[in-house]
Structure formats: structure tokens, C-alpha cells
């Protein structure tokens, strides 16, 4: 099969690699650590999310990738280049290959939408005026803003401004897109649209996206993998479904609870009057759709009532989480049966 010759194994290709990178700020002679020594590998073509509360170090980590922040130590490899060893000229050319979008869009208010999008190309100085115009038209069509080319940013809505930001970030055909809280200033509906656009770009262009956010929902919708940050360190890292369905670190657990608007203690109090054993089952992937509850109930003679539950998706992975009360029949056999099945089981009481 000759087409196989063009196939490149993308999955294991590291596009960003941190080797014991750390960063401390000097504030009146004292070193304030912002990022503890960190190792990190981000694969080509993945959407990698970093979640943390403000001050957790996520913004520092993101800005180290294109060296808007200078590391205090360690090595950063980006796309085979040692970003920490670049001189001023090399750094400028390197940055043209890494796009970035921002929470407050950071568009130039004095330039039209088209001139904003064309600015990175003008700065790079490799294309003629006509070529830039063509590329800008193409980019504006990509983000659905053709009719707004001649407007100024102040005449656009927040969502439109971020689309301009995205078009501008893609102008130089970068391999990597860095997103700094890109949806935090937008309303929920606009957030969903912008995230959908990012997911499309990731799929169609094979672009690696690194995004930081303090919203679980953003991670859940678009990310393949997530790193949870707390006090300048990555405390948990893995596929999004894994990390959020089975959180281990306290910070991760807090994010999960916050996003579900559930106070766990309160919930347990609600179940105080419920008879029988209480279990929580977590289904993931195809198991979500398997008729497990009914068959276990038939085989072991237990009755179950559903106390709480949700069935949803994390990016493309369906998952379900059910809290059950079991009464009657052979409860131990039922628990053993659940343990043997393709679900994650927690016995709450």
C-alpha cells in the first residue's frame, strides 16, 4: 500500500517537552516560586488542558512555552527546537510558529479586523501585500467573519473578537496554539462556539493546542488530556475522563465537585434515611450503554433505587455515574457482580 509511506506515527511524537523547568520571580530581592521543577510531555495533535485556580502557576507554564516568561532553569524543547537556547533573532522566528490567543483578546483597537489578522504576516515580512490579503480572506472565512473585515474591534462582540484572535493566531500556519483563558471573558453560549471552533481547528489542521482555564467544563468539552495544577506544581495528569471520573488529588476533587454543583457532605446527609447499601458506579466508554443494572438485579434478586446520577460525555467519551441504594436479595453477590463488570465501583455505605 503506497499510501502507508506517507503515514507518520503521530501519537508518540512529542511536540512540547519540559525537563525540570522551574520559574521564580524576584520580588524585592526575594525569589517567589511560580513553577516548581516540572517535567511535561505534550504529544503532537493533542488538545492539552491545564486547570488550576488563579496563582496555581498555569499562566506561567503556558508563557514558558513561547518564552514570554524566561525560565529560571531547566530545558524546554518545542517541535525539536531547544527553546531555552534561542537568541533574540531565533526566538522571533520560533514565535512565528507558535500561535497564541488571550482572555481579553488583545486585538489592536487602531487596526481593522483584516489588519489585525494580517499583522503577524506583515511582521514576518515574507509575503507580499497581495498574498497577505488572500491569506487574511481565507482565515476570516475559516472563522466565519468575512463580512466584518473592515470593522474595528470595538464594533465586534466578545465571541467575534476571539474569532479574530484565533484567525490572527493561525495566520503564520503555526504548529502549536496556546490559549490563555480564551473563553473566560465569554458567556456560556459563546464559550461553546469558540470551543467548537478550536476543536475543529485541532481536527482539520492537526494543530497541537495547549489551553489553560479554571473551568472544568472547558476541559471536559475539548481536551484529550489534562494537567491539574496547584501551588506551582502539576498534581495530577492523565486522559480527561480518567482524571475527572477518578480524581485522586484534593484539588482535582474540588474541581469535579464544583463543576457538578454538588456538595458531597450535604448529599450524604440526604441519603441518611435511605435503607440498604449505597454504591456509586462509574461507567466509561461503551460500558455506559450496557444494560448492567437490570441483569444484576435479575440474577441476584436485589432491588435498586437510583439516588443520584448523570450520563454525559467528556469530549468523545460517554460516561455515566450512578449512586444506587440496594435492598433485599443477595447484596454481596450483586457487589461482586459489579466488581467483575466493566465499571468502577465505590461502596459508600
Amino acid at each position: 500500500m503506497p499510501t502507508r509511506l506517507h503515514y507518520k506515527p503521530k501519537r508518540f511524537n512529542r511536540v512540547i517537552e519540559f525537563q525540570s523547568v522551574h520559574k521564580a520571580y524576584r520580588v524585592s530581592g526575594q525569589a517567589i516560586p511560580a513553577l516548581q521543577p516540572t517535567d511535561l510531555r505534550i504529544a503532537r495533535g493533542e488538545v492539552f488542558g491545564i486547570i488550576g485556580h488563579s496563582g496555581a502557576g498555569k499562566s506561567t507554564l503556558l508563557r514558558l512555552i513561547n518564552r514570554l516568561e524566561e525560565p529560571s532553569g531547566g530545558r524546554i524543547q518545542v517541535d525539536g527546537i531547544d527553546a531555552t537556547a534561542l537568541d533574540a533573532d531565533g526566538l522571533r522566528r520560533f514565535r512565528q510558529r507558535v500561535g497564541m490567543i488571550f482572555q481579553h483578546f488583545n486585538l489592536l483597537s487602531s487596526k481593522t479586523v483584516a489588519d489585525n489578522v494580517g499583522l503577524p504576516l506583515k511582521l514576518a515580512g515574507q509575503l507580499s501585500r497581495g498574498e497577505i490579503d488572500r491569506r487574511v480572506a481565507e482565515l476570516l472565512a475559516r472563522v466565519g467573519l468575512q463580512e466584518h473585515a473592515g470593522k474595528y474591534p470595538a464594533q465586534l462582540s466578545g465571541g467575534q473578537k476571539q474569532r479574530v484572535g484565533i484567525a490572527r493566531a493561525l495566520a503564520t500556519r503555526p504548529q502549536i496554539l496556546l490559549c490563555d483563558e480564551a473563553t473566560s471573558a465569554l458567556d456560556p453560549q459563546t464559550t461553546a462556539q469558540v470551543l467548537q471552533l478550536l476543536a475543529e481547528i485541532n481536527r482539520e489542521l492537526g494543530l497541537t493546542i495547549v489551553l489553560i482555564t479554571h473551568e472544568m467544563d472547558v476541559i471536559r468539552r475539548v481536551c484529550d488530556r489534562v494537567a491539574v495544577m496547584d501551588a506551582g506544581s502539576i498534581v495530577e495528569l492523565g486522559p480527561v475522563a480518567e482524571v475527572f471520573l477518578h480524581p485522586r488529588h484534593a484539588t482535582t476533587k474540588r474541581f469535579v465537585l464544583e463543576s457538578e454543583h454538588v456538595d458531597e457532605r450535604e448529599q450524604h446527609d440526604d441519603f441518611a434515611h435511605v435503607a440498604g447499601r449505597i454504591l456509586r458506579l462509574t461507567f466509561q466508554g461503551e460500558a455506559t450503554y450496557a444494560p448492567l443494572l437490570g441483569s444484576v438485579a435479575r440474577e441476584t434478586g436485589v432491588d435498586y433505587s437510583i439516588l443520584a446520577g448523570r450520563i454525559d460525555r467528556i469530549k468523545d467519551t460517554p460516561y455515566g455515574q450512578l449512586t444506587l441504594a440496594l435492598t433485599g436479595g443477595d447484596i454481596d453477590a450483586a457487589i461482586a457482580r459489579f466488581e467483575g463488570a466493566d465499571v468502577h465501583l465505590e461502596v459508600l455505605r
Binding site: V98, L123, T172
Partner: protein
């Protein structure tokens, strides 16, 4: 007219007006040409900016402050030897321009520095992230974004220069201010004083309203 303003010599008023406009135009041009780069230098080397240079900023900043704290009347006299060196005379329009420029440039540079500081840091960061050099950041992002502020700074400087030109009458600089001092004050001819003051007022009004219109024109926010 003859009875209301008996001492007013209209051709002389006309000549003085032209002198004032020439002094203003010439000094404003050189003030902007020198003050704009100086303002950019102050901004870039200032605290927590791209090219923070404590020593350089300190020296330039001190020089600017020294020049700004010398009363303009004193500066006019102190500058005479240097003016003669540059223009060959210390009198007339040509003699007035060097002290005007030296007096107004530090003032304008500070206003430019302030206007540049008003530019959102995020915009500078975004331009840096595109791989822009410092020169490119200044030319393509900082100056266009600060343009309304810079135009406002030019307006304020122009109006300050109008009052400076009036003072330069003291060292024989010519213009409306000179006329006001020589006829209005020294010969006590209140009608001449009135006419020159009204003309200066009209000039200031025109400068301010033109400046305001330009600021609105360049503002896209």
C-alpha cells in the same frame, strides 16, 4: 475702528500674527521630531517595561526634569549663546525657535511617555508572541495604539508653545506677545493689548478644537 482702537497698526498686527504662527509651526515641528523618540525611550527604559534600564532611565528622566523645572523666561536668556551658535541670531523668529524647542521637548516627551503607558500591556504581549522585534512593536503596535493620546499631547504642547512665544517677546522674539509687551504694556496702549490677547485666544481655541477633532477621528475604542 479708528476711534475705538486708535493705536492699532493693522499691518504690524498682521506681521506679528505671521511671526507667531511661524514660531509655533517651527518649534512644534522640532519638538515633535525630538520629543517623540525621547518619549519612546523614556517609556521603553522605564520601570517594568520591555527594556528596563534603571541607569539610562534615571539620567534621561533627571535631564527632562531639570529642563522642565527651569522657568521658561530664564531658559530664554540662558539659551542665547547656544541659539546664536545654531541659528546665527538670537532675535526674531529664528532666534526664538531653539529656546522654544528646548523648553517644550521635555514636556512633550513626558506626555508621550504617559500616552504609551496607557496602551494595554496585553497588546504588547500579543505582538511579542507574534515574534515582533522591539522596533516592530513600537512602529506597528505602540504608536498606532497611542495615536489619540499622542495627538492630544501635541495639542497641549502647541498651546503651551503659544504662551511661550508670547514670552519670547521679552528677548526680541517678535510675534503677538512681543507686540503686547512693547505697545500694550510698556507704552500703555490697552487697545493693542486687547487685540493681541483676542488673537492669541482665537489661536488657542482653533488649536484645541482641531486637536480634539483629530483625537476623536483617531480613536477606535
Amino acid at each position: 475702528m479708528e476711534t475705538l482702537l486708535p493705536n492699532v497698526d493693522w499691518p504690524e498686527i498682521w506681521q506679528a500674527s505671521l511671526d507667531t504662527l511661524n514660531m509655533l509651526g517651527g518649534s512644534l515641528l522640532f519638538t515633535v521630531l525630538l520629543g517623540l523618540p525621547l518619549g519612546v525611550l523614556l517609556f521603553l527604559t522605564g520601570p517594568r517595561q520591555m527594556f528596563e534600564q534603571k541607569a539610562l532611565y534615571g539620567v534621561v528622566s533627571l535631564l527632562v526634569n531639570v529642563l522642565r523645572s527651569v522657568p521658561f523666561v530664564i531658559l530664554l536668556i540662558l539659551m542665547i549663546p547656544l541659539t546664536v551658535l545654531v541659528t546665527g541670531t538670537s532675535l526674531g523668529v529664528a532666534g526664538a525657535i531653539p529656546p522654544l524647542v528646548v523648553g517644550a521637548t521635555p514636556f512633550f516627551a513626558r506626555l508621550v511617555e504617559t500616552a504609551l503607558r496607557e496602551v494595554d500591556r496585553g497588546i504588547i504581549e500579543a505582538t511579542q508572541a507574534m515574534g515582533a522585534s522591539t522596533r516592530q512593536i513600537v512602529v506597528n503596535a505602540l504608536l498606532p495604539e497611542a495615536l489619540p493620546g499622542i495627538v492630544a499631547a501635541i495639542t497641549v504642547t502647541a498651546i503651551t508653545l503659544v504662551s511661550y512665544t508670547a514670552m519670547s517677546g521679552l528677548i526680541g522674539g517678535g510675534g503677538l506677545g512681543d507686540l503686547a509687551v512693547r505697545y500694550g504694556y510698556q507704552r500703555y496702549q490697552p487697545d493693542v493689548m486687547l487685540v493681541t490677547v483676542v488673537l492669541l485666544l482665537v489661536l488657542v481655541q482653533i488649536l484645541q478644537s482641531t486637536g480634539d477633532k483629530l483625537v476623536v477621528h483617531f480613536s477606535r475604542k
